[in-house]
């Protein structure tokens, strides 16, 4: 049976290449046909012409290759439909949960998060056996307001024991580590983590089951945002988690690096923002195996708010470094339109997939 699938894959591959050659690069990108049909899941993607057409990204189709820089094999993209998520959508997908007012007048905010084992195509043609929260990597971006009571019902639908460990201030039994409070949540079990939304800022959550490096590397992490009581200035807000995948499991660095999982995704689909509008990036480094990650923005400078726990920026810069678990808020206004690259200023990571573009319109 597996060989049948493989044959099918190859058949699709050949088909798409022929079509690509026949229709010519630019025309093909415009109609989105070969991109949708690149992988076996292309059948599903072809049913969504709008998605497929936007995937081309038009202008960026020709980036990379030879001296023009790193690229995956030309004309190939990840099958987002089979993955169940498109990283472009994850950027602005803030999960506010369900709110209700308690007798005290305080807001109660609730989520349900389900752990599931799932294969994710992290680069065109490369499938990674991930462990996920809510079937996506990174998991849902949980967003609350300072002072609220939060309840996260965690259901373990995975074949492995897991926990949810939040960065934030909470009681020991809500820390989501083995041996404390409920400890490991076994497959099929569930638990409700409950704590106050504090302090305001940008945080994260991840599984803390052992071996810890593997549970994180497999994709069990997400962003957790606590907005200050008074709120922040209106902005076009984006969530980015810098991550990577050790696809050969040799525990010696990663083969694929990215923001929000799919490598080189924002080369194919640039992050579209408006000129002059405030852009706020909630940036977290969760990269496993490599000690330091970084973020560099071309031709523009941003205000940096470490951990987002103060309302005054500490620095105006274009490059910041982060260890695993470190995070901060970036605020930038692009004064002019155009394509502006952003990538890890560890160029090895950049050339292995952690590279993208802002398209300022």
């Amino acid at each position: 049976m597996p060989s049948l699938i493989l044959c099918f894959d190859v058949a699709m591959e050949k088909t798409s290449r022929r079509k690509f050659i026949a229709s010519g690069g630019a025309a093909a990108a415009a109609i989105g046909l070969p991109l949708a049909a690149t992988r076996s899941g292309g059948v599903a993607a072809a049913g969504q012409p709008g998605r497929a057409a936007s995937a081309g990204g038009g202008a960026m189709k020709g980036h990379g290759g030879g001296a023009a820089g790193p690229t995956f094999r030309k004309g190939q993209i990840v099958d987002h439909a089979a993955n169940g998520f498109n990283p472009t959508d994850l950027l602005r997908d803030f999960d506010m949960g369900r709110t209700s007012r308690m007798a005290s007048g305080r807001t109660l905010r609730e989520w349900e998060v389900v752990a599931a084992d799932k294969e994710v195509e992290v680069a065109p043609g490369i499938k990674y056996p991930a462990w996920t929260f809510n079937g996506r990597v990174p998991g849902p971006t949980l967003r609350a307001r300072e002072g609220e009571l939060l309840r996260i019902r965690f259901v373990n639908g995975s074949a492995h024991p897991h926990t949810m460990h939040f960065h934030g201030i909470h009681r020991a039994e809500m820390d989501g580590v083995p041996g404390v409070g409920p400890g490991l949540i076994q497959p099929g079990d569930s638990f409700v983590y409950e704590f106050d939304a504090e302090p305001f800022g940008l945080h994260l959550y991840h599984c803390h089951a052992g071996p810890l490096a593997e549970h994180i590397a497999r994709g069990m992490y997400g962003t957790y945002i606590v907005d200050p009581k008074q709120g922040r200035e209106d902005a076009d807000e984006l969530m980015m988690m810098m991550n990577g995948f050790n696809t050969n499991f040799d525990a010696e660095g990663n083969q694929v690096y990215a923001v929000n999982t799919v490598a080189f995704h924002h080369v194919n689909e640039p992050v579209r923002v408006r000129r002059g509008e405030l852009v706020r990036i909630y940036l977290t480094n969760i990269l496993e195996l490599d000690p330091i990650n970084s973020f560099h923005l071309h031709a523009n400078f941003f205000d940096f708010y470490p951990t987002g726990t103060r309302l005054e920026p500490t620095e105006l810069t274009d490059t910041i470094a982060m260890v695993q678990g470190q995070r901060g808020i970036l605020e930038v206004r692009f004064p002019s339109t155009g394509m502006f690259m952003f990538h890890a200023h560890k160029t090895e990571f950049a050339e292995l997939g952690w590279m993208g573009f802002f398209e300022v319109v």
């Binding site: 290759g65 030879g66 995956f72 094999r73 043609g125 990674y128 696809t247 050339e351």
Partner: protein, 414 residues
Amino acid sequence: MDGLLRGRLIEATTQPQPQVEPPTPGRLPAWALGAIPLALIAVALVALLTVGGDTLGERVGPPVEEIAVERTVLRPGEIELSVRNTGPDPVTVSQAFVNDAYADYSTTGNQVGRGGTETFTLDYPWQADSPYLVTLVSETGATTEHEIPVAVETPTASGGFYGLMALLGVYVGIIPVVLGMLFLPLLRQVREHWIRFFMAVTIGLLAFLGVDAYLEGTEIAESGTGAFGGAELLFIGAGAAYLGLVALDRFLRARRDRASAAGTSAFQLSLLVAIGIGLHNLGEGLAIGSAYAIGELALGAFLVFGFALQNTSEGLAIVAPLSAQRRPSLLRLASLGMIAGVPAILGAFIGASVNNPELAALLIGIGIGAIVQVIVQLVPTIRDGAGRALYPTSVAGIFVGAALLYSTGLLINA
């Protein structure tokens, strides 16, 4: 049961046993007796292939993804890899990166079938004289690394290239061998125990060449993909060459006996030595050619000088059996020199254009087998009056021969 057996036994012993069973009518001819089991074996194999595999169930564990790069061709801005699947399952290559940077590539098909090959041409601006590590990533995320120790543009098989290889072959093969043969007049003057000494020197030379070739051949064989085997190719080549030369020797000896032409045996021995050395020089040319192809050959005075010095002793070995002869004709001498030297040119061609470790191992193995056979041939020529092969003079000769090659070999490495 007991009675039955006994009855049969009695029957068998009492009845006269025919020595040869008479041919019964309807008995099958011999070819059919061979064809029937062959056909049954074929049917059984097909059955096992189609049905038998299923009876064992699915393999436990993930698919085995084993691919290896067989050949690397470097062109400006391009790295072309010929990849062979050396494992039991088909492998789908999904992406490739060079020195930790993903690169675009073209190929006719991503999937490399079991035992099959596929070519991947990477679009990468490599720089001359730099090392590169190419990594192929399969659909499961497994990686296969291929090291390019030093990037040098792969020579294309043009006229100039063949000319250069021919020149190299002449330098390391023909010229030194012919130079060594110039010792013949000297050998004809010296006394018999000196001849035996020179023959012992030749044995020492050849023994050292054989050991050296074996060590190098093992290294080359291990650098291959293993799809067609490794070090055993050396032994296959050596066995084939040894037995082939023994057969040739017997054939020539039988002809000589029929012709009863006394005195040709010395020339025949020379011929066998020349053939053996020629097969060895094929392997030597191969090593030079492939080193040139990957830019590892330090072309220069030392290479030519070192090989010339070393292979001069090979010429000595060829003419040594002729010392007690009537003056051999120049044509015969020249042809001996060509037999020993020309294969170096052929080897250089093959090495530089094919550059396949398995083929190199096989050819080097052939050279080793030839050397062993020649040593066996030469042993009678060093026997002294008492029929001993090892005595102070011969031992000294063997040692001198080995030392000569060892020291001249140092020059080549330098």
